[in-house]
Symmetry: C2
């Protein structure tokens, strides 16, 4: 350790991000929130979202106390003198990690549910650029909160427990636990509301999307915030933190990296790369501006491009000035430029995975066009084509990730793989901002629709939203790619921690682990999708009840009881997330402690989950995104347009894709990372 100034510098990058977020919040609050109808709707969404968070916190607190107590207890009995030993203090770091992630999510969602109505109003009064600016500012608050609090919390933990990696792991586990609630619970919430609203509203009652007569419409809009803002944010918070923690552990294990030149260079580098990436994201965000009539996508791309270039320059500087020019790890010698190349490998991989996702999910390219074409022969051919496209879309991302892994390893060993993950994630602030901008625009459109604003307003928000669809798909690709790299480096840290020199797949117990691990994402996805089905079923019943029981609801004179639907989604989401969550937490521990399986089988298990999880997540996210955009493509007038048979087939595909891309797929990211972190934290037990 040593050289605290550098740690504090990284912490300051986090503080800077938080200050920038505060500035943005002030700016957003300064925007007029529109007429009273708009404000009323926005308030309902805001309250629904905050109510869900409140309810979630009640469960989360119990969860954190129980798991924290277990950690403290196990830490008490299992602790050793090793720096990576689990200790009672791990529970403290765990609580801090959970707290920081919760706080980031709370701030992000609080602001997002204020930015949505202001985006709608800006579209009404100020046009495209103004609307984009508000929506993107809202997203940026989420992004800056994630990286800001992630960094600050981590630096605090490092300074509190210097050199105690077994304690620092707890911070990552805290982040993971919140991500579980955010992604799995949030994913179930959002799709229960969405599917429920669509099936009764659009299909049965034949009223349009975002119609205020639909009792589930507020829940649906709340869901966008719960799933796509808070859930996604907690997911990337976890990846961001997890990748740095893994790099710290692996970096600490290379004496030559820390004992020559700057003390603790191997630990400082990942923190500083993340810190500089954070500053780069702030600067990039300042450049997101669009002229009237031009494409908002271009503005976002410019912002991301600037952030990326600055991050690369920063990573170069860090490696050049901090890392020793040459150092030996094991029996190999590496250079500081090797570490730089490893970081860049991650960054580049993240970019290309995003591009591939765009290719497979945007209506500008052949795959979505083919899917739209297949809608002409009905729902079945649409589904087959979508599934096949999702499956095919795994190939190139696999090659990209492998290339990044091999390059990173070649240039700086296991530490290089961890640095690749850090490199990929260093611009997380920007990625989250671009990603969270989508649901805010989507919400703005919903509010415009529900409050009966002029068509031109909806046109602007639709423009923002359609860009948001693509950025959301890219963000999902990035989220799973970064989850895989993070999990892989945590996996290396795990094997180091349990003292496994090799995990040999010729040994049947490793094969057993590999098979079980490979199966878990299938079982987990099945559980989350069925959970959506059950929760949506409850929603459907309630909406049907209100349609028949509330007088004048269809004529717009009777007011639907929105809050009941919000309540159903929230309750169902929290109940339904229990079983899959337990699966993710219990299985690795059980496999690790069963005598005839043990840590080797656990290693196999983690590898198996990583591989099939990565594949399934990409397949489901991309199939879902492709179906969504094929439907939109048809709605633009192709293959018969709205109301045609092809459109009805496309709606079916879109509905299948909803739980694929917004519940099951992204939840797998959490499964992959959480299981690895659980294994890492409880390593002394195995």
């Amino acid at each position: 350790m040593g050289n605290y100034a550098f740690y504090i510098a990284a912490g300051f990058a986090g503080v800077l991000a938080l200050l920038f977020a505060a500035l943005l919040v002030k700016r957003i609050n300064g925007v007029e929130p529109g007429n009273s109808k708009m404000q009323e709707i926005a308030a309902a969404i805001h309250e629904g979202a905050m109510a869900f968070l409140g309810r979630q916190y009640k469960v989360l607190i119990v969860f954190v106390i129980v798991l924290g107590a277990i950690i403290a207890l196990v830490g008490h009995f299992a602790q050793s003198d090793r720096p990576d030993s689990l200790k009672p203090a791990t529970a403290v770091a765990f609580v801090i990690g959970a707290f920081c992630s919760v706080l980031a999510g709370n701030i992000g969602m609080r602001v997002a549910t204020k930015a949505n109505v202001r985006t709608a109003n800006s579209a009404r009064t100020g046009g495209l650029n103004k609307a984009l600016s508000v929506a993107f500012s809202g997203g940026s608050v989420m992004g800056m909160s994630v990286v800001g609090l992630g960094l600050v919390g981590l630096v605090v933990v490092i300074l509190l427990f210097p050199g105690e990696y077994g304690v620092i792991n707890g911070y990552a586990l805290g982040a993971s636990s919140v991500a579980l609630f955010g992604r799995v619970g949030g994913g179930i919430y959002t799709k229960a509301a969405d599917v429920g609203a669509d099936l009764v509203g659009k299909v049965e009652a034949r009223i349009p999307e975002d119609d205020p007569r639909n009792p589930a419409v507020i829940a649906d809009n709340v869901g966008d915030n719960v799933g796509d803002v808070a859930g996604m944010g907690s997911d990337l918070f976890e990846s961001f933190v997890g990748s740095i923690v893994a790099a710290l552990i692996l970096g600490a294990a290379i004496p030559a990296l820390n004992n020559q030149g700057i003390t603790g260079a191997g630990l400082i580098a990942p923190l500083l790369v993340a810190g500089i990436g954070t500053v780069a994201s702030v600067i990039g965000g300042l450049f997101v501006k669009v002229k009237e009539g031009s494409n908002p996508a271009k503005a976002l791309n410019i912002g991301e491009g600037i952030a990326t270039v600055l991050a690369i320059v920063g990573a170069f500087a860090v490696c050049y000035f901090i890392i020793p020019q040459t150092f030996t790890a094991g029996d190999k010698t590496f250079t500081n430029m090797g570490v730089f190349l490893a970081s860049i490998a991650g960054l580049v991989a993240g970019f290309f995975i995003g591009k591939v996702t765009e290719y497979y999910t945007s209506a500008d390219y052949a795959p979505v066009k083919e899917i739209a074409q297949s809608c002409e022969t009905g729902a079945a051919t649409n589904i087959i084509n979508g599934v096949a496209t999702g499956m095919a879309s795994t190939a190139i991302p696999i090659v990209i990730i492998i290339a990044a892994i091999l390059v990173a390893f070649h240039f700086s060993g296991l530490y290089g793989i961890a640095m690749a993950a850090v490199g990929m994630l260093c611009t997380t602030g920007m990625v989250v901002a671009v990603d969270a901008y989508g649901p805010i625009s989507d919400n703005a459109g919903g509010i415009a629709q529900m409050s009966g604003l002029d068509k031109s307003v909806r046109e602007i928000t639709d423009k923002l939203d359609s860009v948001g669809n693509t950025t959301a798909a890219i963000g999902k690709g990035f989220a799973i790619g970064s989850a895989a790299l993070t999990a892989l480096s945590l996996f290396s840290a795990f094997s180091q921690s349990v003292g496994l020199a090799a995990i040999d797949i010729l040994r049947p117990k490793v094969v057993a682990g590999l098979f079980i691990g490979g199966m878990l994402p299938f079982l987990f996805s099945s559980m989350t999708m069925k959970a959506v089905g059950r929760a949506a079923g409850k929603m459907i019943k309630e909406v049907r009840r209100q349609f028949t029981m509330i007088p004048g609801i269809m004529e717009g004179t009777g007011r639907p009881e929105y809050s009941k639907c919000v309540d159903i989604s929230a309750k169902a989401a929290l109940k339904e997330m229990i079983a899959p969550s337990l699966l993710a937490i219990v299985v690795p521990v059980v496999v690790g402690v069963i005598p005839f399986l043990g840590k080797e089988a656990l290693g196999g298990l983690l590898a198996g989950t990583l591989v099939t999880g990565f594949l399934l997540a990409i397949m489901m996210s991309n199939a879902g995104g492709a179906w969504d955009n094929a439907k939109k493509y048809i709605e633009e007038g192709n293959h018969g347009g709205k109301g045609s048979l092809a459109h009805s087939a496309a709606v079916n595909g879109d509905t299948v894709g909803d739980p694929f891309k917004d519940t099951a797929g992204p939840s797998i990211n959490i499964l992959i990372k959480l299981m690895t972190i659980i294994a890492l934290v409880f390593a002394p037990l195995f």
Copy 2:
């Protein structure tokens, strides 16, 4: 080696099976084929099936010559003194393996397309028992040909090249190559015809299934034979042969197993277990009889039960009398009863995987009922539920397979795993018989419908067919389970052959292999499903063309040009199978020879493919089977019955399930095994 008498005894079991098949053929030929209309239709199906085989052979011969030449060439340059070295003679064994599998498929399909019409006629004149007897006899000919020719050919190769395992591997590769054509080509054929016939006939023209006015109806019936009889037979031929070959190689590597007591006991045991299982299948088949009015499923179960019990007794005798009481392998000591337990572990695992498959795909149990229920809210919820059910259905089979692997390994090491595969597959004759009985009954129903026989006939064939649906699902579970165990033992043989003491998943190149391997089944499935889509598209165009161009076709006065549709399916199937086949053959070789990947990465690749392939195959087969039976369940009058909205949703699910369960799912079995055998045969290159 040595002790030829035992090899010859195993060969004689094969001869016995073939003699029994000949007897059955005579019996089937003695049954009246019905009226001239029935004979005419049957002749069209027969000719279509044989025409496809003829066309397939033309491509297959080229394939065999090219791959054989490559093997001979590589063998010429790469051969060494090691017994497992690839040699020019490997090409000879390869050709023999391909020939035996082709012959088995040819006999089986030739007879199946004679048994179908005789089953229909027996149902007309003799009732349920007579019809079952003919259909099952037809299936048994396929079953007995598979195991008979499999054993005889293998014994011939062993006697021609004693002790040269590198040559004997070629036999398995030959079987694999034919299986590729049978399963992938056959799978594309059958579903192109089925989907094409359904979408234009049932959906567009609203004529019933198996209506003679549909030009694709003969192609559809041909497809049942091509895919479900010949394809399935070649798949299990490959597993049957592959499991024995792997056991031979692993057995030969344990000197203590072969040098004390009976010389070559480790090699004799797998052959004899397979031989006794074959005899047990013949005897079990004799007990398949049903009383009028009772359930045909019971009769099949009795036959399988008897075969299984006899096989267990036989395996016990083999292990007791042949294997040394104790022997050491590596640093462990095993017993002959341990080998027996290992074999039984496989047999038991096969049984339970079948039962789990039945649970998830039969309308008697909750999963299919739930799927049928979800049809009430439309196609999308049906699809989501089916996919989720398919995913969940992977969990227990994984646990079963792992249990079998761990038990087998515990009791007799890697040899035990191979013996578990042999144990699972020793009753292949019976499994194939029960499996092939289904499509024959299905065909019989089609012929009854097309030739306008009395409703009571169709009722009998429907009864046989509905049992056949369940047995087909069980057969698919068995096929993938056995593929996994076979591939795993071939994998062990591969690692021995390339001299890998460990394949360490902590090494990035192994991780790279694992990722690529894991991805291949996704890409492969995507390719086969899209192939079905394209081929079905061509079929649809042709059927539409005939509907509009042939005068009087809809009134039944104009005769459809059936052969054109048969031709389209055949051409498309053979064309479309090229790309996925190359993937399976080329990727392992390329990964093996690329310097920065190499044999370690190849090991990871095979493991990755095995894991995700097993999972995807089960998921797709079971989802498809469940959708199929949910549709039938609704057609029985549940949830509104035929013509209801739920039914239309169920039809969509069934159509999605078709390529899942009959093309992509089963084709993965081939991918898993073929890749491993390719790696094993070309091991000297790596």
